[in-house]
Symmetry: C2
Subunit: 78 residues, 2 copies
């Protein structure tokens, strides 16, 4: 079974770059990567915060948040 | 041909966690991941800085630096 990975972003340039590089580099045989645009799906901001996400872009892997560079803080997306 | 990816760290807890999760999640069929401990191989700090790395852990992929969470700044490793 593949591990679930969620890549949260907000459409910012830093986010798009990280998505194309990091999210795309994840091994698809072991991980199922879901890409979530928090600017467009604000109802999932709570879920991201629960996983420990403070800013985007961020990748939640195995319930741990990994903030990749800095695009925008979660607070600014609300 | 696989793309070269370099994961720079300094043995800190944040680094070790990111290495085990992010560096390990990279698709080995498309990327060749080299793990570099900058605390032990200080002669490669210049190379990391040239790639734009400001702190560790960081992954350099396709000549772009991706800082993953924050463990230590490069300046503190010198």
């Amino acid at each position: 079974m593949r591990t679930k990975a969620v890549f949260y972003h907000a459409g910012c340039p830093v986010c798009v770059d990280a998505e194309q590089m990091i999210a795309d580099a994840i091994d698809p045989e072991r991980f199922e990567v879901e890409v979530v645009h928090l600017g467009e799906t604000k109802d999932r901001i709570g879920e991201a915060e629960s996983a420990g996400v403070k800013s985007v872009p961020a990748l939640v892997l195995g319930e741990h948040p990994y903030h990749i560079n800095f695009g925008a803080s979660i607070a600014d997306l609300k």
